[in-house]
């Protein structure tokens, strides 16, 4: 896994977040309490003089891990975050694709409508998935959250000028350039607090975090951030291999994303 220049990545992410803050009236950010969105918040604190200047949204289906809730409350207090918890109901008969689609995306739609956000910061990275490698830094979604991936707008140089159509919003992706290993190197360098589930317990750790129903841990003895970085240098396993919703069927990520999933 290629280790990129952290300072360059950080500067670009800062620039993109400031662009978003200056251009859009009402920004929200998704925070899953995972490593990527937590890193995004750490960068936002740097970009905006120590304080995250937008609300952070947890799409809470009530089946996240206990560690995740604990970490949320700890960091929300420590960093003085403006936390919005958007509850979604999990129906036991729905799972996988339908679960992420029906529950998470629907809850997101409700919270977006309630608060009137015109821009949503989402901490996806190109190297996570080949569909995510097709994303723009600033990407419009229509009123039904549909990603018109066949007609994406131009995005040249540092001109992130896409606007939302009426009733829609834009997704802002400040971490698009980062690789998984860069996130961990940055967490180490900046001493960013992380969810305890990433650290190995009894020979297992979570590499990518979702909810309790659809996420499985990987075999790993990485007991701290240094050991995670070391592990990633040699792995040939996909980061999201423990995420069941990705694998159910071909093009699941494309369908989820085109319907508004994060």
């Amino acid at each position: 896994m290629i280790e990129q220049n952290l300072s360059e990545l950080e500067e670009k992410s800062i620039y993109i977040m400031r662009e978003a803050k200056m251009k859009f009236k009402n920004i929200g950010a998704l925070w899953s309490m995972g490593k990527d969105s937590t890193t995004m918040l750490a960068i936002a604190r740097k970009a905006f003089m120590g304080k995250v200047p937008f609300p952070v949204i947890h799409i809470d289906n009530s089946i996240d891990f206990p560690e995740t809730y604990k970490f949320r409350d700890y960091l929300a207090k420590k960093w003085d975050l403006d936390l919005i918890v958007a509850k979604s109901e999990i129906k036991p008969e729905i799972s996988g694709f339908s679960c992420c689609g029906a529950n998470k995306t629907e809850a997101l739609k409700r919270v977006m409508a309630e608060y009137g956000f015109d821009a949503l910061i989402v901490s996806i990275r190109r190297d996570e998935h080949s569909i995510r490698a097709k994303e723009r830094y600033v990407s419009p979604r229509d009123k039904d959250f549909v990603w018109d991936y066949k007609n994406q707008p131009a995005e040249l140089w540092d001109d992130y000028s896409s606007k939302a159509k009426k009733g829609g919003h834009v997704r802002v992706h400040p971490l698009l350039d980062w690789n998984e290993i860069d996130i961990w190197r940055y967490i180490k360098k900046e001493h960013i607090p992380i969810n305890a589930l990433y650290i190995s317990r009894n020979g297992y750790r979570y590499r990518s975090l979702g909810c309790t129903h659809c996420t499985v841990p990987i075999k790993s003895d990485a007991g701290n951030v240094d050991e995670i970085i070391k592990e990633l240098k040699t792995t040939n396993v996909e980061e999201r291999s423990g995420r069941e919703q990705d694998k159910e069927k071909e093009y699941i990520m494309q369908r989820l994303r085109s319907l508004g999933y994060m």
């Binding site: 290629i2 280790e3 360059e8 500067e11 400031r18 970009a47 490698a133 040939n236 996909e238 071909e250």
Partner: protein, 401 residues
């Protein structure tokens, strides 16, 4: 690690995605899981394994065997890191091609040697756009050598014809270095290791050429301080981006347009006060006297200001003819009038009399309603390039000459 960005250009179906997919596999830069997925989809579609599916991830792309939007993947070769950027070759998807190409420093131009394919208008258009965007080193990958029996004559024909075109474009677009390599993207010939199917070719492999061109490009040119104003940070100062030179506290600077003379009081980088900030940094600065600075304003030393004005000459590429256009340059946006001059003839690479049509490259005079600060593209790339928009969206780009 610095990532060298390489864009694959060329006509549709000449093998850009296949090439990147195969290079990822040959350098072991992609997981078995993703390869297996591409294999499974190829089988389901009833076609031989298509390495291009490692990049072309949309169902529509795979079913229609075409790249719709740009994508990227990284690999390591000789301890250097490269990001290979795939773009669509279709004329109607030129905006996506420009989006991908805009971040690259080096280009690989794919030309199919297969009978009936060869050098097309689109091949030449992509080449001329790369030249216009300042890519001075171009690797020409003559692909599908397998379908021509790996014959030297097929390679020679493409090389001779394209070399002649490049020479004739020198006068209008400036000189470029071009190296030709015969390959089969699908079979892997001459991609990473030398092919035994083409003993007659004594030159370097494609990856070696990419490596030499991308890593050999010297340090970027730095002129004096040029920082672009991004905007006000709610009472905390001015967010800006340093594109050249160095900002330091106590420095006497000018902000243009407007010739505002100020002193740099404080520089805050990533939340901390620092004495200076160099190229690539996005600091927040406090200037005194305080005044409202326009987005896109250029901060420089008071004794070394950028070009400022309402008129400049440019090379422009129009993906669509704009109505009541504006240009965007470094965050500044200005209504403008574009007067089309001579057209770059796509067949010869020379300038000729022409009229504005979609997908054309032109010399043009641009007159803006508001004053702008800029540089010539050859002086400082970042301040010398712009995009063209109208109410319907993106319609082209240009460089200031």
């Amino acid at each position: 690690m610095r990532i060298h960005k390489i864009v694959m250009l060329g006509n549709k179906d000449h093998g850009k995605s296949t090439l990147i997919g195969n290079m990822l596999m040959l350098t072991k830069s992609i997981s078995q899981e993703r390869i297996d997925e591409a294999k499974r989809i190829s089988r389901a579609l009833g076609i031989p394994f298509e390495p291009g599916f490692l990049l072309d991830s949309f169902s529509d792309e795979r079913e229609k065997a075409m790249t719709i939007d740009t994508s990227r993947a990284q690999l390591v070769y000789k301890n250097s890191a490269f990001e290979l950027i795939d773009v669509p070759g279709h004329e109607e998807l030129i905006t996506n091609m420009l989006t991908g190409a805009s971040s690259a420093g080096t280009a690989v131009l794919m030309v199919s040697a297969k009978h009936g394919e060869g050098i097309s208008k689109q091949t030449k258009r992509h080449l001329l756009i790369a030249m216009m965007l300042g890519m001075r080193n171009i690797v020409v990958a003559v692909n599908k050598m397998d379908s021509e029996g790996y014959k030297i004559e097929s390679f020679g024909e493409v090389r001779n014809r394209l070399s002649a075109f490049i020479s004739s474009a020198h006068e209008s677009m400036g000189a470029v270095n071009a190296e030709f390599v015969p390959i089969s993207a699908y079979n892997g010939d001459n991609l990473i290791s030398k092919s035994e199917n083409m003993e007659w070719y004594g030159g370097p492999t494609l990856m070696e050429l990419i490596y030499r061109y991308a890593t050999g490009t010297g340090k970027r040119r730095d002129i004096g301080l040029r920082a672009v104003v991004q905007g006000e940070m709610q009472g905390n100062g001015l967010a800006c981006k340093v594109v050249s030179g160095r900002l330091f506290t106590g420095q006497r600077v000018a902000v243009n347009p407007g010739r505002l003379l100020c002193t740099v009081n404080r520089i805050i980088r990533a939340g901390r006060s620092v004495p200076q900030a160099g190229a690539g940094a996005s600091p927040v600065i406090n200037l005194s006297p305080y005044s409202i600075m326009q987005r896109g304003g250029v901060i420089s030393e008071a004794t070394d200001m950028p070009m400022v004005g309402r008129n400049f000459s440019a090379f422009i590429f129009l993906s669509r003819i704009p109505k009541n256009p504006s240009i965007k340059i470094n965050g500044a946006e200005a209504k403008c009038h574009i007067r089309i001059g001579r057209e770059l003839d796509i067949n010869t690479g020379r300038l000729k009399e022409g009229r504005a049509v979609s997908l054309g490259i032109y010399r043009a005079s641009i007159k803006t309603l508001d004053e702008l600060a800029f540089e010539k593209f050859n002086t400082l790339t970042e301040l010398g390039r712009f995009t063209i928009y109208d109410s319907a969206g993106f319609s082209g780009l240009g460089i200031i000459i």
